[in-house]
């Protein structure tokens, strides 16, 4: 337990010192929020837009926190070194997810601040709490996705793949254009993306509703599936090569 706690604290500390990464997760979504707010001239749904951009920032931070760092740690041998300490696989996984969740917080704070100050979003304290909870809990499947990317890709491939996947998930999940604008087979498929499940839950919360059970269950299913995959890879990799089976 102390090992898990110590490693989590270590990873969280490293994330918080990675200011360049955190600034990117804050600055771009904030600028986009202000831009969309301006072109909608007060006619749009400022709260819904806040959820969309908080989601965009969250996806960037949650995926990037691990997808960007793990390949470098593998290349330097640090993962291998960790593998031969008593830190259990589950401990490693927990710390990496906690670290990614911490990385989500600065972007969430900045977007929410923009929502209040520029978008004049007014929510009850319970709604704010639910909204923060949805963003943080909703980040979990994306954190596991980032972990998987970090495990499967080398440092050169991780960055473009991460960027591409972030955009696909954001557009596909309807963060920027509603799913109703998609043609039919695509629309149903897009509805299953974790981005859409998160967005639906978040929109419900800021509109004063409870998140739909189906959306929460869908997000949980994504998280469990991705976690199981990441864990099995951690147990099989020797920490030196990208994948032991890929030789």
């Amino acid at each position: 337990m102390t090992a898990l706690f110590a490693y989590t604290r270590f990873e969280v500390m490293r994330t918080l010192r990675n200011t360049r990464f955190l600034v990117v997760t804050m600055a771009m979504p904030a600028a986009m929020y202000l831009f969309f707010l301006r072109i909608s001239r007060g006619m749009g749904d400022a709260a819904g837009l806040m959820v969309a951009l908080a989601g965009f920032s969250m996806i960037n931070a949650a995926i990037g926190a691990n997808a960007a760092t793990i390949p470098a740690e593998r290349a330097s041998g640090w993962l291998r070194q960790l593998r031969i300490t008593p830190l259990p696989a589950g401990g490693w996984l927990t710390a990496r997810i906690a670290q990614a969740m911490v990385a989500v917080v600065p972007g969430l704070a900045v977007i929410s601040l923009c929502g209040v100050l520029a978008g004049h979003v007014e929510l009850s304290p319970a709604q704010w709490a639910a909204y923060v909870l949805v963003v943080l809990a909703g980040s979990i499947p994306f954190s596991f996705l980032g972990l998987l990317l970090g495990q499967l890709l080398d440092a050169q491939a991780a960055q473009p793949v991460q960027g591409l996947l972030t955009m696909l998930l954001s557009f596909g999940g309807g963060l920027f254009f509603p799913l109703t604008t998609f043609p039919e087979p695509l629309r149903s498929a897009a509805g299953l993306l974790p981005t859409h499940l998160f967005f639906a839950a978040g929109q419900g919360v800021v509109a004063g509703q409870l998140p739909a059970a189906a959306d929460v269950a869908g997000l949980a299913a994504w998280a469990v599936a991705l976690a199981a995959l990441a864990l099995s890879i951690w147990s099989r990799q020797d920490g030196r090569r990208v994948l032991t089976v890929a030789r």
């Binding site: 102390t2 090992a3 706690f5 110590a6 490693y7 270590f10 500390m13 490293r14 994330t15 010192r17 990675n18 470098a72 740690e73 290349a75 330097s76 041998g77 640090w78 291998r80 070194q81 593998r83 031969i84 300490t85 008593p86 830190l87 259990p88 020797d238 920490g239 030196r240 032991t244 030789r247």
Partner: protein, 314 residues
């Protein structure tokens, strides 16, 4: 490949529980490639053993098995009386793995604190600082250290759990001569505490000086084991140098035990398995023998011979 390379498998009886590590006829394949081919050896408690072998000999695979990072396809690997992964999970094995830089965003102190916590606080951070000589760098960012300093931080991490078995992978590779000297002095002190040490190195003089025993691995097999002196002697090579007025290659090559003949003008260098006989025979050649020198071959010579890496000089 040296014809005397493959040894009969005489290690039928394994005293597993007494050993720091045991490999019993271990086979590991990657697809068609056989990385380890019935590799067997034992490392006793408290022993310091050097693992030698050319690149691609199966050393890295053997190390992965030793540290529980991979499982053998056949045979058995035992570390401290049980499964390697179990010994590692219990913090009884320390490893210093050859790597690039340490993680960014952490000071040396943070890393040592992490190491201490991962191994259940068996040593204090100041203890680790003192042990690995890290006073000057303890508050520096861990990814901004020299090669030698980085290696010493790794060494401190490897010792954080007071391991019973310590593995060092080319530990001095990034060090200058003085750091190397300092480093081995610390290792010697750790060994004196009864810790079993296995190290891989490309500096054969380190193996010669530090190891109680060397294991030479080639093509996934153990081709020789013994004290550094015995491994040197196993190839029984000594070098005899002298000057002769009229050296004749054919006649010199026919002398007792001669394996190699090198002639530069009047300077003659002979490699032999029997220096005593050879020297006697040389005086019987009927030429005045001058500047005669007999020297033992270095461990490196024996290593190159054993692993067939000498460039086909025979």
């Amino acid at each position: 490949m040296c014809p005397s390379g493959s040894e009969p498998d005489h290690r039928g009886m394994l005293h597993t529980s007494e050993n720091a590590a045991t490999f019993a006829s271990v086979v590991r394949r990657y697809g068609e490639v056989v990385a380890l081919d019935h590799l067997s050896f034992e490392i006793a408690r408290g022993e310091t053993v050097a693992l030698l072998g050319p690149n691609g000999a199966g050393k890295s695979t053997a190390v992965d098995l030793l540290l529980g990072l991979r499982a053998p396809d056949e045979g058995r690997v035992t570390v401290l009386g049980g499964q390697p992964a179990r010994a590692v999970a219990a913090g009884r094995v320390g490893g210093m793995l050859q790597t690039g830089s340490l993680p960014a965003g952490a000071r040396v102190r943070d890393l040592l604190a992490l190491g201490r916590a991962l191994y259940g606080a068996r040593r204090t951070v100041p203890e680790l600082v003192a042990l690995a000589d890290l006073d000057e760098v303890v508050d520096r960012p861990a990814d901004r250290l020299s090669g030698g300093q980085t290696q010493r931080v790794r060494f401190a991490l490897a010792l954080a759990g007071r391991p019973e078995l310590l593995f060092l992978d080319e530990p001095t590779v990034a060090m200058d001569v003085e750091s190397r000297h300092r480093f081995w002095a610390i290792v010697r002190a750790v060994a004196a505490d009864g810790v079993s040490i296995v190290f891989a190195t490309h500096y054969l003089e380190e193996a010669d000086r530090m190891a109680d025993r060397v294991l030479v691995i080639d093509r996934g097999r153990l081709v020789r084991e013994g004290t550094p002196a015995a491994v040197r002697a196993s190839q029984a090579t000594r070098t005899v140098r002298c000057t002769l007025p009229a050296p004749d290659r054919a006649r010199l090559a026919a002398l007792p035990g001669v394996r190699e003949v090198t002639i530069h003008g009047h300077d003659v260098t002979l490699t032999t398995t029997d220096a005593d006989e050879l020297v006697g025979a040389m005086y019987a050649l009927g030429q005045p023998v001058r500047d005669l020198q007999v020297s033992a071959a270095a461990l490196e010579d024996a290593f190159l011979r054993l692993t067939g890496a000498a460039g086909g000089g025979r």
